[in-house]
């Protein structure tokens, strides 16, 4: 805690009405556009609701329908595999990259600048870039692979290939985030601790596993948590490749929800799907939220 922080912990300035008013815009935005709609979704998920009809309470029927819908389960498991694939591949690549770039290196600032580039691209342009390389028949990499006699990625017809490519593109987009968190954590590992470990006879490999990795574990957990939370929302990559096709086989939960809402106007079903996504996110975030609750109670 900083000097200013310590001072303020003992400081008990009276909170005046205008202080509460100053939090108003921020809290108002969150309430109006996130919290209240989410609460409404929870209620809506227990109703049968569509355009032009008042919502009718049906209890847990929507969840029962979901549980009986093979397309939902397909979307659920697709999401499960995509999310876990993205998170752990990204963690491995991000950690490797962060380790690779720790320590002196010529042109390091320029190298880091290039590595951050994908985070500045919009999802639709990302799809443009990857389709340019992997478009069936004409894509640059596709042509090259055909030329070399290698099998090509049939992402437009094979749902597993679709999800694979969507995951690759998602990793490409978000690797800079994971990399930056781990890279800045690595720069805080004190060199003398590593030296002490090596003097005690640890190999560099052992020192990395037993010392470095332990010291940056909080950062790793944060990176993993945030990537889980955001990967559950995966939509654009799959949508822009095949819209969840062929035959809804490559749908993820966000696309399933989108279709229920905007195509079938089954708002109850869509809300139940949303609530499943919400529950998944909260379960994953629980340990983090517990810790942050203590932090919030302690003050900045």
């Amino acid at each position: 805690m900083t000097e200013a922080g310590r001072r303020r912990a003992g400081d008990r300035r009276a909170v005046r009405w205008f202080h509460y008013a100053m939090t108003g815009p921020a809290l108002g935005l969150l309430l109006a556009f996130l919290v209240l709609p989410a609460v409404y979704v929870a209620w809506l998920s227990t109703t049968a609701s569509t355009y032009g009809q008042p919502a009718r309470f049906v209890g847990l029927d929507n969840y029962a329908h979901l549980a009986a819908d093979p397309i939902f389960w397909r979307a659920f498991w697709n999401t499960f595999f995509v999310v876990n694939g993205i998170v752990y591949v990204e963690l491995a690549l991000g950690l490797g990259l962060a380790v690779l770039l720790t320590g002196p290196m010529p042109f390091k600032a320029a190298i880091v600048a290039v590595i951050l580039d994908p985070s500045a691209t919009t999802e639709s342009s990302g799809i443009v870039m990857w389709r340019y390389m992997l478009e069936p028949d004409v894509g640059l990499v596709t042509q090259w692979m055909e030329h070399a006699g290698l099998p090509t990625l049939e992402w437009s017809t094979n749902p597993i290939a679709t999800l694979l490519l969507a995951s690759v593109i998602a990793v490409w987009h978000h690797l800079p985030f994971t990399f930056l968190i781990l890279y800045s954590a690595l720069t805080t590992v004190p060199q003398d601790v590593l030296e002490a470990a090596e003097i005690d006879g640890a190999s560099r490999w052992q020192a990395f596993w037993r010392v470095t990795l332990r010291l940056i574990m909080p950062a790793i957990l944060i990176a993993v948590l945030f990537r889980y939370i955001f990967a559950i929302r995966t939509f654009a990559e799959v949508w822009l490749l095949t819209e969840g096709g062929p035959a809804r086989l490559s749908e993820v939960l966000a696309i399933y929800l989108y279709r229920e809402t905007f195509k079938y106007h089954e708002f109850g079903m869509a809300s139940a799907t949303g609530f499943v996504m919400l529950a998944m996110s909260l379960v994953i975030a629980l340990p983090y939220l517990k810790q942050m609750y203590r932090e919030a109670a302690r003050g900045p």
């Binding site: 922080g5 340019y132 989108y258 996110s281 900045p300």
Partner: protein
């Protein structure tokens, strides 16, 4: 301890770095380069690096896709609007959370963080009909408010940790001189938290400029943004005009890429300053 790396180690490291550069930069480079190629050169393998650049694709984009230019304008207006709303709301709230304590403040500070865990897509279900009723669909204001809502908690937490570093004595001295809350905030605190403002601003502008899903769902024509138009150009049935899309993607990318590269050191500051700290 500075260990002298062996030649083998140095070679392997250099190769891995090269691989990382190809992975991150090549997809972007290919599209930017090919936006200056003629249609028949675009899918040549191996792609030619030496070619006579042409602006044909940009000319076609300008002539035949007036909606793209309009969408760029929309994206700019929405990014600037989101920036203003988010910075104002985050700074005001961040100040209070940094300087004052009460039961309500503790709980709401935590609540802001917890709200970030909600998958935003779920709110499209109740929001869409509500916004239709309010006639807010397809307006700039709507996207600005949505994006600000998605980023205001990150922004508040970043500003809270930056403002907490500002010595309280400075504020007290100004208060003794008779400065009010507003003066203290604008004259004393803000100049000292510029890096925080830049960090929040960078996150927000990059997000608002690039956001796809909500722009796709909540706009039709009037407030359509550039990422959505690029997505639509990909989905055209009569065959994709690759060169023109490359031109559009390049125009959309260059300003935001320049911003990220120029301000990258603030990204790290922002990420560690409370956004995602353990």
């Amino acid at each position: 301890m500075v260990r002298r790396p062996s030649p083998l180690e140095r070679t392997v490291r250099a190769l891995l770095v090269a691989l990382a550069l190809v992975w991150s930069g090549l997809p972007i480079l290919l599209v930017v380069l090919s936006s200056f190629k003629e249609a028949k050169q675009i899918f040549e393998v191996p792609p030619s690096l030496l070619f006579v650049p042409t602006l044909d694709n940009y000319a076609v984009l300008w002539r035949e896709k007036p909606e793209f230019l309009r969408a760029l304008g929309n994206s700019l207006a929405i990014a600037v609007g989101t920036l203003a709303v988010t910075l104002a709301a985050s700074t005001l709230a961040g100040y209070v959370y940094a300087r004052l304590r009460s039961r309500f403040l503790d709980i709401s500070a935590f609540g802001m963080l917890a709200a970030r865990m909600l998958p935003p897509i779920i709110i499209t279900v109740p929001l869409f009909p509500a916004l239709n009723a309010l006639r807010l669909n397809d307006t700039h204001v709507l996207l600005i408010m949505l994006y600000a809502a998605f980023y205001v908690s990150l922004g508040t937490w970043i500003m809270r940790s930056f403002i907490a570093q500002v010595p309280l004595e400075l504020e007290e001295a100004a208060a003794v001189d008779g400065a009010g809350m507003g003066t203290i905030l604008v004259r004393i605190v803000l100049p000292l938290v510029v890096p925080g403002l830049i960090a929040v601003g960078l996150f927000v502008v990059v997000f608002a400029w690039n956001e796809y899903v909500f722009a796709m769902i909540f706009t039709t024509r009037n407030a359509r943004t550039a990422p959505v138009v690029i997505g639509e150009m990909l989905g055209t049935v009569e065959g994709v005009q690759w060169g023109v899309i490359f031109a559009a993607a390049t125009v959309q990318l260059v300003p935001v890429l320049a911003l990220v590269v120029a301000l990258q050191r603030f990204l790290v500051a922002g990420l560690t300053a409370g956004a995602v700290k353990a």
